[in-house]
Subunit: 380 residues, 2 copies
């Protein structure tokens, strides 16, 4: 297979875009990527989205967005893997170019949730776990995360504040990020004083509801100079139900996807200079650090709280704020993550820039860790 | 890219499966494919489905079905392109094997609509055209097809019965098909006497509502003997809105996808021995014959009515009944079509068998022809 590189990215600011449709948001992000790449030539389009069927009562987004971009005729489709839709669509897009079947592929994610009833958003998030056995009991997705969070504290003796610091770090990093939904600092006191969302998870430990779109333009690497190469992408799954897993504190899909991605790229954890993890809540961020292999099991919360994930820390993590502070427009989130790694490796991260990053990794979760996409990028 | 072959297929009977969940149906079809192939080894799973978010309130079907099959850990995702989901997922699955990234890929589609309110099914079909500009006017998807149907009659002087004969042919072919929803003959009199669904389309010119699942197991062709090879797959899109097309009687996506597929396979219409077209209503079947290049524009209805599409005709079409008589479990339909071509080329079509078929083509439409997937198979 041939090498694949990123020719440009386009990011809408994450926020409440009451005046824009999913078509508007998607087009805005696509045009930004075309502008950066200096070309709008594409022969295939991968759209990632989770909830448009229930949120906008809209399907067939591939053809819709191809048409919106004036690219009528090209191959286009939608990929859905709950909140991992973005990372998984990227995997498909990379394969499309690597195989030689397509030459210029746009992978774009979009999600719009502000103008949807909160109960409907909660319900659509619950659809990523099992309706028949789990959701009908009434537990929300954050409720399920609460079980993990509580168990993590008990087994490893982690403090509530230690885990919650993951959110504070995210906010630290989002300051100055032009596309972040919450580009301001917060404090551990404010996080701990926020209402309980699902005991022991506080509201300010959860990623919020927002609208956004992110696009990435892919080309064969031999047609690029000064680009960022896709070193590898991998997708893996895990036991679907939280209750059936041998250990709810380990995301098997993360271990497997990371293992495959590292192997394919011939790299290891020590090679990674900048990292994006899926901190849907603080505890999923903490466990991700561990299951990706950056920290020993049970040490993730302390590692983050002590600054290991800070911009100048051992492994700068979620350097634009992560899901918590950049925002989590679900079906687009995985592409925000990959685009942010790209910006770091291109020295285009502005006030969020880390030093001397040559290789970066993004981890995107769907369901309660039942799907994981891992992407590794490196300077070309 | 390496060659890809079909190692086995699995088809649930299309019908009203009140007692089975989407997980049950999918698993049943997958196990049948594993049985035929003599192996259940897979390293990636592509699930095609249109409406599970609104019909079952369920997303993340990739991880869900991987788990249901006991294949926890593999890469898995869902592809959605409205009623073209199956053909498009097949395109992705073939690419996955062709690229060398995966070795054994299962592509499976599932849809369950019997236990959903009819208004909800209609609404979810309308989601494949535009909500904002089209569906909110109240027109159904069949209503849009009615515009095409009426215009076709007027421009080409086609008779209502001539077009309706497409449904009668489908029923002729379904007799004896073990997986068909309506495996019995009908008559032009019965079709014309059925209620108007959307003038001038009669109820018996429309595909019905049904549940089903179809799976196809893919392997590299050099690992197969006596297999059926994937000669090519192609996906294309068209202007999204019916009202903005230069000519509503031409499906541009079909012309483009067919052109790409024929070119990639180095074949032409004359090489095709057996055909599956997307007769969601009779008129979409008729126009498909034309835009695929088998009949001159405006002659499709007469060609079919006069027997050109019959089992012993010039180009045997929809040899298991098509969407009308085999049934249309939307997200799975494209895979039923491809599996049926496979059965013909393997001489496994039983009472539906055509003679001496070496090459077959399946055409799968999404939206109102805004997405098209074309697949060409040939004896290995």
């Amino acid at each position: 297979m041939r090498g694949v590189a990123i020719a440009g990215v386009g990011l809408c600011s994450v926020g409440e875009h009451w005046e824009k449709s999913i078509r508007d948001l998607f087009s805005e992000a696509a045009i930004k990527a075309f502008d950066e790449a200096g070309t709008d030539e594409i022969d295939a389009l991968y759209v990632s989205n989770m909830g448009s069927a229930t949120h906008q009562r809209q399907l067939n987004l591939g053809a819709m967005m191809a048409d919106a971009l004036g690219k009528r005729g090209i191959a286009a489709l939608r990929v859905e893997a709950a909140s991992a839709s973005g990372g998984v669509a990227f995997h498909e897009g990379v394969k499309a170019v690597a195989s030689g079947l397509y030459n210029c592929v746009l992978v774009g994610g979009v999600e719009k949730m502000s103008d949807v009833l909160p109960a409907e958003v909660k319900s659509s998030l619950a659809m990523s776990e099992d309706q028949e056995y789990t959701a009908y009991t009434g537990i929300t997705k954050v409720g399920l995360s609460g079980l993990i969070h509580r168990h993590y504290m008990e087994r490893f003796g982690a403090g509530a504040e230690e885990i919650a610091m993951f959110a504070v770090r995210g906010h630290d990093h989002a300051v100055g990020c032009p596309h972040a939904q919450y580009p301001f600092k917060t404090s551990i006191e404010r996080v701990m004083a926020s209402p309980m969302e699902a005991d022991p998870i506080h509201m300010l430990e959860c990623s919020g509801i927002g609208d956004g779109a992110a696009t990435i333009l892919l080309r064969p690497s031999d047609e690029m100079v000064d680009g960022v190469e896709v070193a590898s992408t991998a997708v893996a799954t895990d036991v679907y139900y939280l209750t059936e897993r041998p250990d709810i504190l380990t995301f098997g899909a993360v271990e497997k996807a990371a293992g495959k991605a590292f192997k394919a790229a011939d790299l290891s954890n020590g090679d990674i200079d900048v990292l994006e993890v899926h901190d849907e809540t603080t505890i999923t961020g903490v466990i991700s650090l561990e299951d990706l292999g950056f920290v020993e099991k049970g040490k993730g919360a302390a590692f983050s709280a002590e600054g290991g994930t800070a911009r100048e820390g051992e492994i700068p993590t979620n350097t634009f704020g992560g899901l918590k502070a950049r925002g989590n427009p679900v079906g687009a989130t995985g592409l925000y993550q990959i685009a942010e790694i790209y910006l770091q490796l291109q020295d285009k991260a502005g006030p969020c820039q880390v030093n001397d990053a040559d290789v970066g990794l993004a981890e995107n979760l769907g369901g309660l860790g039942s799907t994981c996409a891992v992407t590794i990028l490196r300077r070309g």
